[in-house]
Symmetry: C2
């Protein structure tokens, strides 16, 4: 590995955000999952919690692109477990949702430990997830179409989270512990 | 048509932005074009200028989703023509691009007449377009992956344009002329 490559891996690791997560609630089109993984990587999200059937997950792993290496994809059988786990680790879990009562996504404080949950392509956010999350956020739309593509919606929300965290200096100092840093540096450097 | 439907069409028309446009420079995956059309509709963009071969365009029209009805897709043979046309109508044309010298997309004043040009999935922004645009904008990324999916990048940029225009009150009064309003209302109501 060249010194430049090593420096790049270290710089990216030093910008990782251990307290920003994404959950997908039965999003199952591989191209959407792949675009979402890219969005996660771009914002420094370390883990994508994919609530997904075993088979869809295997199909996805089989075809996925390089960005997998940079974002850990953790499969869950149920949205309830994934949400409870994140909440128990202090995250506010917010579902991106189109219904009434959802707050404008820019009103949220994303510098707090936060997980954003994205609904499935057709059915949106499941009832299980709706009952368990801490709140709902929506990206305002001015047109006729009722929703964005799920990867686009997650990209818009994560860009706002990134903006807030950049302003707060959260990308300016390493935020992961030494053991995790060393483990990831090793894994990234030796695929 | 129900009175509710008619009121909805009128409300959306009254939020259309005749001086905000999107150009795609040989973006040719249909799912990306479809997601981009949804992004346009959401921000009030009335026209998508698609620089695209005749065949790709026909394939796209053949399979496209409902959002087409709300956004006019204009095909162009060359990026040069599309850009010159928009510039002659007073638009700043900005290419979304990953190279050096590009400005952070949030530094731009999108309340000015503006067209955002998106590059192709593989090749990015063409040389023709690079030579013709008024400037370059980039969405900062904190990770290892070098680019967003093109529909995600366009969604992030248009969400910022929409935010600025909403703040400036540009969605609060009808901005299209009476003749265009009547023509579109008729077309939207009678598919
Ligand atoms: C294609 S949408 C699902 C539409 C579904 N028919 C519904 O009514 O929920 C897929 C997911 O993208 C996200 N999404 C799309 N547009 C959104 C918006 N404007 N605000 C918040 N989330 C959005 C939500 O997580 C949604 O569940
Ligand atoms: C997948 S990218 C193309 C990557 C191509 N290999 C390149 O080097 O340009 C497709 C298009 O999405 C847009 N795009 C993707 N990520 C972007 C970013 N971070 N900033 C600005 N535009 C971006 C650009 O218009 C780009 O041409």
């Amino acid at each position: 590995m060249t010194p430049e490559r090593s420096a790049r891996l270290r710089a990216v690791l030093a910008r990782r955000q251990p307290d920003l997560a994404l959950v997908t609630d039965f999003v199952n089109k591989q191209r959407n999952l792949s675009a979402i993984v890219r969005n996660c990587d771009a914002a420094g999200v370390m883990q994508l919690h994919a609530v997904l059937g075993e088979e869809d997950y295997r199909a996805y792993r089989g075809t996925a692109m390089g960005s997998h290496r940079w974002v850990e994809v953790v499969r869950h059988d149920s949205a309830g477990d994934a949400i409870a786990d994140l909440q128990s680790r202090g995250h506010q879990v917010l579902a991106a949702h189109l219904g009434e009562g959802a707050r404008d996504y820019r009103e949220i404080d994303y510098c707090r430990p936060t997980a954003v949950l994205m609904g499935a392509e057709r059915r949106g956010v499941s009832e299980t997830a709706r009952a368990a999350v801490d709140g709902f956020i929506t990206v305002p739309m001015m047109g006729m179409v009722e929703s964005y593509n799920v990867s686009v919606a997650s990209g818009i929300i994560l860009a706002e989270a990134q903006r807030q965290r950049a302003e707060a200096g959260l990308y300016d100092r390493c935020r992961i512990d030494a053991a995790t840093y060393q483990r990831l540096l090793f894994e990234w450097a030796h695929p």
